[in-house]
């Protein structure tokens, strides 16, 4: 096939990957320089559910930041939905990030003074600047109902359990219908029961068509997900796709 190998052909239409890294490297200055990412090639297609695993220090956080366009690679390229964003200005990159990527963090990062509803509505604040507050709240309500928190709309983070907080954060990531949800150790701050439920929720969302990449050091978590990418010393050591031989 003469087409770029990273593109998939669906129903005769060429669809670029949601996110693609081409030989992306990240070096931090020092003597000697620290190589956090070493020529990583990675493509994530729409509808995928994948885990990026690796021990601490393997470059997971750096990979997450580069994938999420929060940081720029020292060399190589980052493409969002086929568009090379490596050289984009900060404002343009922020705009693309608002539309394309939803983040879920280990520490939840909820605004303590705001209700669950307003926390989720904040997910739309920078995405569509013309949208009215009423409409943002309406969509936030729908997103919270989708993660099973329809009865907790007006609770503040302090009044919610850890699992519920992470659900609020997931709703916030989903409310803008991003092409890709990046979850960084989403169960890292939760007990095993709450963590298991969060994984159930992610699987359920994936079944509903959401593309999700989970970064984790937890092999048990990774095993419940689909494609598994193993990172070691800034390099992709392994890329296991279920149903396909390694």
């Amino acid at each position: 096939m003469s087409l770029n190998a990273s593109h998939s052909l669906t129903g005769g239409t060429l669809i670029p990957p949601v996110l693609e890294l081409r030989a992306a490297s990240k070096e931090y200055p020092g003597s000697p320089p620290v190589v956090a990412l070493d020529r990583v090639d990675l493509a994530i297609h729409s509808g995928e559910l994948l885990a990026i695993v690796g021990p601490s220090g393997s470059g997971k956080s750096t990979l997450l930041h580069v994938m999420g366009t929060l940081d720029r690679p020292s060399s190589g390229q980052v493409l969002l939905e086929g568009q090379d964003v490596t050289a984009c200005a900060d404002a343009e990159l922020s705009r693309l990030r608002a539309r394309t990527i939803g983040f879920v963090f280990q520490q939840f990062f909820l605004l303590e003074g705001s209700t669950a509803l307003d926390n989720v509505a904040t997910g739309l604040l920078y995405r569509d600047r013309e949208m009215s507050t009423a409409e943002r709240r309406e969509r936030a309500t729908a997103a919270l109902e989708k993660v099973g928190l329809g009865h907790r709309l007006f609770h503040r983070p302090g009044e919610l359990s850890g699992g519920e907080r992470q659900r609020v954060a997931i709703a916030r990531a989903l409310v803008g219908r991003p092409a890709l949800v990046l979850a960084d150790e989403p169960t890292g701050n939760l007990d095993s029961v709450a963590g298991g439920r969060i994984l159930d929720l992610l699987l359920e969302l994936h079944a509903g068509g959401v593309t999700i990449a989970v970064i984790t050091h937890d092999r048990e978590v990774a095993e419940r997900l689909g494609r598994r990418i193993t990172l070691r010393d800034g390099r992709i050591e392994d890329d296991l796709v279920p149903g396909r031989a390694a």
């Binding site: 940081d71 963090f105 995405r127």
Partner: protein, 385 residues
């Protein structure tokens, strides 16, 4: 814009106590400035109203000094000549009588209490447009007898609060027949005991030569009358005549107030700057504390500009709220002060606008550095906890 305000308001509400305290710093400075400006404006308005009520058409003619430095005197005909100037509406002569007035003859002669004895013509009251606190003024009947009318200060110092009593004047008893209200345009009369010219000449050895002559003119001809007064009063020695307008002295008080106002305004400005430093401090701490929030917002797609605007808006909201509070407090102080002195309240609008402008400017300056710092923060650093 509404989103930005809601965002800034939410940020401040989350740190309520700290926000209130730092806004209070701004409020104090603004309140001080508004109160100083308000009180001085109220005072000026009051003064102008007072001048308006008293009239600026009262003139006085007094003997000055001769070229040799001796005390000059007005010719006996001076009051009559002055009253014949066309626009002059009324004239009243007074003169100092060199004697003392005391409560009783047991009090030492040296203790005059600063009260002068003056002979006055019966129409002095109408010329000064004065009013009686009690009793009656001198008239054609009483000015031939040992009767006295006391100025307000004189009555107070002599301890006399109603008519009918007696005071020791010269070396005999005089009956008090009237007490005057305050005369803002003739404070020297407030401190005087007034007797009639006939009695001054018969009992107090006065020569009856006119001293100070008070006159009212047509308000539109004050300057014209003023220029001819000296030659009319003393055609031979016009240079020995002192002409003045008492309302000018009142108006001059306004100028001294202005200098004091400048000093107080400076103090208010210092308070305001201290308040601004407080706001800057709160904003810097806020940026440090809210790194995760900044990182999250960047992850959600906020640009550097969004972050900068958010923190700047918070600072402006903080100082704006402080400014509004300060304007309210300053206006309340002005109102209370003016009420205490039974003045009308006048808070100048430009001062209010200026105060709000100063508060917002301070907020912008105080918030600029923290906002730039927040915006410069790399998202990856902000998210690292």
């Amino acid at each position: 814009m509404r989103d930005l305000l809601a965002l800034a308001g939410g940020g401040l509400k989350a740190r309520r106590l700290r926000s209130i305290l730092s806004a209070a710093g701004i409020a104090l400075g603004i309140a001080a400035m508004v109160a100083v400006l308000g009180i001085s404006a109220s005072s000026r308005t009051n003064l102008l109203a007072q001048l308006d009520a008293l009239g600026t058409n009262l003139l006085t003619v007094e003997p000055g000094q001769t070229l040799m430095g001796d005390n000059a005197s007005l010719p006996d005909e001076a009051p009559g000549m002055i009253s014949r100037i066309g626009p002059v509406q009324s004239t009243a002569a007074t003169t100092r009588v060199s004697t003392t007035v005391r409560r009783t003859d047991h009090i030492d002669e040296a203790e005059t209490g600063g009260i002068a004895v003056r002979a006055a013509q019966p129409n002095l009251l109408s010329t000064l447009e004065g009013t009686m606190r009690s009793g009656k003024f001198l008239d054609a009947a009483t000015d031939k007898f040992p009767t006295v009318v006391l100025g307000s200060v004189a009555a107070e110092r002599l301890g006399i609060d109603r008519v009918g009593g007696r005071v020791w004047l010269g070396d005999q008893w005089f009956t008090v027949i009237g007490i005057l209200d305050d005369l803002p345009l003739a404070p020297e009369i407030d401190r005087s005991a007034l007797v009639g010219f006939p009695v001054a000449e018969s009992l107090l050895e006065s020569d009856g030569a006119p001293g100070t002559v008070y006159l009212r003119t047509d308000p539109s001809a004050v300057d014209a009358v003023r220029s001819v007064l000296a030659p009319t009063a003393s055609p031979k020695h016009p240079e020995e005549v002192k002409v003045s307008r008492p309302s000018d002295a009142l108006a001059a008080r306004d100028a001294t107030d202005t200098a004091f106002t400048g000093l107080l305004l400076g103090l208010g400005a210092v308070a305001l700057i201290v308040g601004g430093v407080g706001v800057a401090n709160v904003m810097v701490v806020s940026v440090l504390e809210r790194r995760p929030e900044i990182g999250l917002r960047r992850a959600l797609g906020a640009t550097k500009g969004d972050v900068r605007r958010q923190f700047l808006a918070e600072s402006l909201l903080l100082s704006g709220a402080g400014g509004l509070g300060g304007v309210a407090i300053g206006a309340a102080i002005t109102a209370a002060y003016a009420a205490g002195r039974s003045w009308g309240v006048a808070v100048p609008m430009p001062a209010l606008a200026g105060a709000m402008g100063a508060a917002l400017l301070i907020g912008a300056v105080a918030g600029l550095y923290p906002a730039l710092r927040a915006a410069r923060l790399a998202p990856t650093d902000a998210l690292r906890t």
